[in-house]
Amino acid sequence: MTSAVSVSGLIKSFGRTRALDGLDLTVSTGEVHGFLGPNGAGKTTTIRVLLGLLRADSGGVRLLDGDPWRDRVALHRRLAYVPGDVTLWPNLSGGEVIDLLGHLRGGLDQRRRAELLDRFDLDPRKRGRAYSKGNRQKVALVAALASRAELLILDEPTSGLDPLMEETFRQVIREGAAEGRTVLLSSHILAEVEALCDRVSIIRGGRTVETGSLGQLRHLTRTTVTAELIGPPDTLGALPGVHDLHVDGGRVHCQVDNDALNPLLRRLTDVGVRSLVSQPPTLEELFLRHYGAVTDWPRSGEAR
């Protein structure tokens, strides 16, 4: 399998701020890759390095088998980008911006342009200064999605969209993925990531803290187990991987590492189970854990 993006040990500082501190990121060709991290984690900075707008201090960066700094003009013919904070020219109409960016990228699919304008319900005649935040974002989205680019780099593209448009966005991205396009999607919207992404990378403080498919990531977390037993259990707390244990007569409530689930269940069935509820971790829990204190959590490299 080839990689559309491969970044290893990327370091980038702005004066004394180290924005990226040994970041790793691999996006395989044809996948939709979620790029997550708390504010200031370095997502936008990474993307700007990938676009050759910023120069890496050190580390290996490859984009579509090229060097994003040296080969930027040639590479940009093959990709389309939607920035996180879309500012438009106050006097240019949305339609003009779409045509301009599409043309500078090397061509625009006119049929697709018309279709996207319709689906995103965007008036192309308005001037840049008259668009709302969400509509500015739609202008950049239509410009990017109507191109024939094989790689889409989207930096929080839906932060201003209403739920209806968010749904349209997801459909369009799915269609793009079905056509074989690669998508790097930075986002804070977990439901969007869950709905669209094949794999995700979570970064924090300029480093990658987790990467893998959502299923794999779930495996790394704890399951919540609530059980009603026939009698009181003995010494559950001594089992490795069991946390936050509450025992109240026959009622047991605890969290358990996924690889410690088997021994726990065996112990419970030894006592006799009347009812059992086991909840996989929600994505929110997963992300909150990574966005918050990171120290008590295994690094991706070790866990996989």
Binding site: H76, L92, E96, L104, G106, A140
Partner: protein, 543 residues
């Protein structure tokens, strides 16, 4: 609650928000008038000097277009004609600024929405904005009159000058009150008001230019177009001479009528929208836009057009003055000044042209610098990110803006020299020859301007985040050491630091190639350094 409930609160709020800017708007013009009065008194102490100056104004249609008719040679009349044309425009600009800012701009920023939802009447913000503007105009009128009285001019004329200026401002507060109801945005409301101001100025100018010079050679009776202009009405008050107070009723009536129209329209529009809605732009881009160069031209052409119009006017004035300057040859101080500014010839009118072209050339440098800072603004506002994420190289992008700056500069100089040459040639009877001579003389300024342009390219490449300050400081220093340095007798070594010092004083002298080629080489060097750096640095995008 009635229609204007809360106006007093809004006025207090507006005065608080403008506690720094409004006093400057009011005090600076008044101070300027007082300075002009002092300057006139010291430049033309003798009656015969004043008569010469008044004759010059009365006989020159270009000057009348710019500054209004002459009305006798008293100190007061000269001060009035020296000050009114520009100070009245400042008062009008202040009124427009206040009214637009406290109505539509507030609505756009969302501040107005908070106010509209509070307990204020539907017309309160318009009433407050107009009230503040009118009050500021009246204070400006009072301060102006006071300054003139203190300068020793007659009280009645001083009061008439102040009120003529204040009334011009008030008339445009009314015009702006209508514009803010009509326009689709605060920006277009300002543009509409400024268009009205431009039309008023032009009508006044045309009427005065077409006016009839009376037999005394000192007074001019303006033609009818002046009477279509609020600025014309106020100018016709003829402070210190005729003191036609009753004419002030005209701008006052216009203000009353326009405010009434504004109120009527205000009830018919939605908050944040105008009676006219923005028709919008094209749904698809014209082919001409679809390149980095096309985008650069689209972003720069408006500013260039503004400069070109200014150059036509300045060229017309300069060209119509050149031959009359001989009349002033008796004024040794003037000749001395022109020579110091860069003129050095036997022919006085050529000396005059050399001096003025050097000075105006230094000011024309403002255009390419503005253009390059516009490019810098694209970067700092983040719009450049879109463009450079496409298959456009950095050098290609910035080359589009450099081309606009350089070609625009050459066009402006040609317009300046061409119009001046044509004007001069129509007087001397050899338009073609003078057109070529003065166009060439204007073009000679280009290499020095291009040095500053190259420095601006380097500045935005090496210091993108402080380029604006660096570039304008550079121009200021270049002008201070160059044309101004000659007037205040700076040592030659210091003056040599300014590129303008190395411009030959054409048409008063021959045009040697060496200094021009050296300037061009320096410009190319600076530009190349900037291009190389720009291609190799991080973009200075918003974080």
């Amino acid at each position: 609650m009635n229609a204007i409930t809360g106006t007093a609160t809004l006025v207090r709020l507006a005065l608080r928000r403008e506690r720094v800017r409004l006093p400057i708007w009011v005090a600076a013009p008044a101070l300027l008038v007082a300075l002009q009065a002092a300057n006139i008194a010291s430049t033309y102490p003798a009656e015969e000097d004043r008569i010469a100056a008044t004759r010059l104004l009365a006989a020159n249609p270009g000057l009348r277009l710019l500054r209004g008719p002459a009305a006798n040679s008293s100190l007061g009349a000269l001060t009035f004609s020296d000050a009114f044309w520009i100070i009245a425009v400042l008062a009008a600009l202040m009124s427009v600024w206040v009214v637009v800012r406290h109505t539509r701009q507030d609505e756009e920023s969302g501040r107005g929405e908070m106010i509209a939802s509070a307990a204020v009447g539907p017309y309160a913000s318009l009433a407050a904005a107009v009230g503040v503007a009118v009050t500021a105009d009246l204070v400006l009128a009072g301060l102006t009159a006071l300054g003139l009285v203190v300068s020793g001019l007659p009280v009645a004329g001083s009061a008439a000058t102040g009120l003529a200026i204040g009334a011009s401002g008030i008339a445009f507060a009314g015009i702006a009150a209508v514009a803010v109801q009509l326009a689709s945005s605060a920006r277009t409301a300002t543009a509409l008001s400024l268009a009205a101001l431009g039309a008023a100025y032009l009508l006044r100018g045309i009427g005065d230019a077409l006016g009839r010079v009376e037999d005394d050679g000192l007074t001019v009776t303006s033609a009818w177009p002046s009477w279509l202009s609020p600025l014309g009405w106020a100018q016709q008050v003829q402070a210190f001479e005729a003191n036609k107070w009753w004419l002030l009723a005209l701008p006052a009536a216009l203000a009353t009528a326009t405010v009434a129209i504004g109120v009527a329209l205000a009830g018919r529009r939605d908050h944040g929208l105008g009676i006219f809605t923005d028709p919008g732009g094209p749904a698809a881009a014209p082919r001409s836009l679809l390149s980095p160069w096309g985008l650069a031209w689209r972003l720069q052409r408006g500013v260039l057009l503004g400069w070109a119009v200014a150059m036509v006017i300045v060229g017309a004035v300069v060209g119509s003055l050149g031959q009359q300057i001989e009349d002033l040859a008796r004024n040794a101080r003037l000749v001395e000044l022109l020579t110091a500014l860069g003129g050095a010839g036997v022919d006085l009118s050529d000396t005059f042209y050399a001096a003025l072209l050097t000075l105006i050339g230094a000011i024309v440098a403002g255009f390419p610098l503005q253009a390059m800072l516009r490019a810098n603004g694209e970067e700092s506002a983040g719009r450049l990110e879109h463009v450079l994420a496409t298959a456009v190289g950095r050098t290609r992008w910035i080359a589009g803006h450099i081309t606009c700056a350089v070609v625009g500069t050459l066009v402006l100089l040609l317009v300046l020299g061409g119009v001046a040459g044509l004007g001069d040639g129509l007087v001397t009877g050899e338009p073609a020859a003078r057109l070529i001579t003065l166009s060439a003389a204007a073009l000679v300024q280009a290499p020095a301007i291009l040095v500053l342009t190259g420095a601006a390219v380097a500045a935005i490449a090496f210091l993108p985040r402080s380029a604006g300050a660096v570039v304008w400081a550079g121009l200021t220093v270049a002008i201070l050491l160059g044309p101004i340095g000659g007037v205040v007798d700076l040592p030659g070594a210091v003056r040599d630091l300014s590129p303008f010092t190395h411009v030959p004083p054409a048409p008063a002298a021959d045009i040697p190639a060496a200094p021009l080629l050296a300037l061009l080489a320096l410009a190319a060097l600076l530009t190349t350094a900037g291009l190389i750096r720009f291609a190799h640095r991080d973009l200075a995008l918003p974080a």
